[in-house]
Symmetry: C2
Subunit: 388 residues, 2 copies
């Protein structure tokens, strides 16, 4: 058993999951049907009797279901431990928080490194291409499984925010409030370009073996590390890199006239790469980045993005960060404009921060104030019970 | 013989070079001495009798000495053919333009793929680390060899601009005017980070073989292509990528739910990568990016960057582009502030452009007007003869 301040994640809880697609398969956007597939998830707090206090948190590309307390696989605190917990911004004394490992992920939910229940073999590169909509539909099956009709809130940052938008568009009646953070309604050319570099790095690694490397003990770690390194640069702002590292040297007095990590920023990036491969699957990285590239919510609707939200009663709170150049404020503003144009309920906050895209994971009091206020006001609006 | 509109580059001219470091070696910053090394170069226009009309153009990371006319190695026009030529902005009717392949390059000048004249073997990863200052000192030896005392102008974009700053700091008496374009006086943490990703991609390629791959016919092409892809993203602005490619598909009606280049931007990047490896050496890429990372002109001078220019009589024209996020205007402004603080002669222009860092290579009439005006005014100021 691993303890943190607030949550004990028992090892048996690590395996908390549901087998979905049993009575009928989940038909993916690509046309492939998934039967009897596991979705792994974690919950924090307690579901109210009325089942009206559920918040679904959608994780980002490299996230997982262990958002609070200690992640039993890494031994580190969860990726949103700053935000989710008793008396925190998403207060688990009040709300029942659910987080699922996404479809295509590598923390238990069906994905390329899992066994295909029909063949008994590891999926590998036979895993079908999944989309953001597929991820959301799998989550909806889990919410059904938990016998929850409506979600008080669906919230997430980055790719999590894409899932939020997809939830609001696909299941408007089931989403009372939606909080897409540092996200976009479609992947830009630059977004696709950076992902493509990462994918090429993985696929160029001879250990990738066309995606079927699981039988060996050798994984495409170098390729995956490079993919992580380039992505990580995009998660930070230029000023934050400059403040954090500048041109400071790593454990040395002067440059070595060589290719070692002379600079702290190099050492940091290499560390980001090498630790990532311990917890992430290279094929999952390929599939999930592709799902993000394919995401274009407006494309499915004649008349564009606004039509995705026409008639919606969901209350939206769109949040961006001023120094986020991966999903800049202009992308959030496009979502806000679309919502405004169909008279949806939307508030919008651009948080001033120099921490870049990753701001939503970091200590950002202004962001937290906005989020706390929106949730609290919405809880009043929808008549949630006071704190138990 | 290959013809273009303005210049005929005869195949024998391809081999235009000087052997330098003959009487005494060039002692590099790392301490290694280079003897009897070739520097390859091209010239355009004619040197005046007074030898007062020479312009040294410094090329960028992936550039070479073939800046105008047709590049005989690629069959394409040179990288600055838009700017340099008869009646063009840098008018070869008036000016004598020199461009050298830089130290560490791969177009003839000594670098990792060339033979070490002392051992008779290819340098490979035994090539010593070079710096921007080393590049400039080698260029100065060539200028000596051409019996030119003073350069009317030293000009270059990107890493070429770093060389310009280095020239002005190291040989102030030899530089009448200096035009650093889209450059910086030091590499930022983000600059270093992107380069480190590229280097890791090359060094992760099993064909790199520790840098000693020349004996085989197999080169680290995939690694080098990935390095080029990630770098290329940084050369373009987000809006220019969006305008040029957006989410348009490549020769297909709909996405394929796979990892092919569904999007035009992916196809474009892959093309950039695969064509680059035909003309560039992976080790040169490692060495040159490292030289850029090491560049920090202020570090050598007590009191910082301004001291690099104290007492300089050089006339500076610093040029940046509004959408350049690799070497943003703020970096150029730091150079301008340093020059101002020692009362140097400096004019500064931020050119409004949405084309990103590569603007200096592209059709940018405002940039050209500024440059033409500065050169023409400076020619008058320094009493250059009128057009012959």
């Amino acid at each position: 058993m691993i303890k943190s301040d607030e949550f004990e994640t028992k090892m048996e809880d690590y395996n908390k999951h549901a087998i979905l697609g049993v009575k009928q398969p989940l038909v993916l956007e690509c046309g492939v049907s998934l039967n009897n597939f596991p979705v792994y998830y974690q919950t924090y707090g307690s579901l109210s009797e009325k089942k009206d206090n559920a918040i679904l948190v959608c994780h980002a590309l490299s996230g997982d279901q262990f958002l609070a307390g200690v992640n039993p696989t890494t031994g580190k605190v969860g990726w949103w431990n700053l935000v989710v917990g008793p008396d925190k911004v998403i207060d688990t004394n009040r709300y029942f928080v659910i987080c699922t490992n996404i479809l295509g992920g590598c923390m238990g939910t069906v994905g390329p490194k899992e066994v295909n229940s029909e063949t008994g073999e590891i999926w590998g590169s036979n895993f079908p291409m999944i989309t953001i909509q597929d991820m959301v539909r799998a989550q909806a099956l889990l919410i059904d499984h938990l016998a929850i009709d409506k979600l008080f809130c669906v919230i997430g940052g980055s790719m999590g925010g894409m899932q939020v938008l997809e939830w609001a568009a696909t299941y408007p009646e089931r989403v009372l409030t939606a909080v897409p953070i540092a996200a976009a309604a479609q992947h830009s050319a630059q977004n696709i370009a950076f992902h493509e570099v990462g994918r090429q790095a993985i696929m160029a690694d001879p250990n990738w073996c066309g995606g079927n490397y699981y039988a060996s003990d050798i994984f495409p770690d170098r390729g995956l590390a490079i993919a992580r390194m380039v992505a990580h640069i995009t998660y930070l702002s230029e000023p934050s890199l400059q403040t954090k590292f500048g041109r400071r040297l790593q454990d040395r007095e002067s440059i070595t006239f060589g290719f070692d990590a002379d600079f702290q920023v190099e050492s940091y990036l290499r560390h980001q790469g090498s630790t990532f491969v311990d917890r992430f699957d290279a094929n999952s990285y390929l599939y999930i980045t592709r799902a993000m590239d394919y995401f274009d919510l407006s494309e499915r609707f004649d008349g564009g993005l606004a039509e995705a939200f026409r008639g919606s009663k969901t209350r939206f709170c769109v949040i961006s960060f001023s120094s986020d150049w991966l999903y800049p404020t202009s992308e959030s503003r496009m979502v806000v404009h679309a919502l405004n144009s169909v008279a949806a309920s939307v508030s919008f906050a651009e948080i001033r921060s120099d921490k870049g895209h990753d701001s939503f994971l970091l200590d950002e009091p202004e962001f937290w104030r906005v989020l706390r206020g929106f949730l609290s006001g919405s809880a009043d609006y929808f008549g949630l019970d006071e704190f138990s």
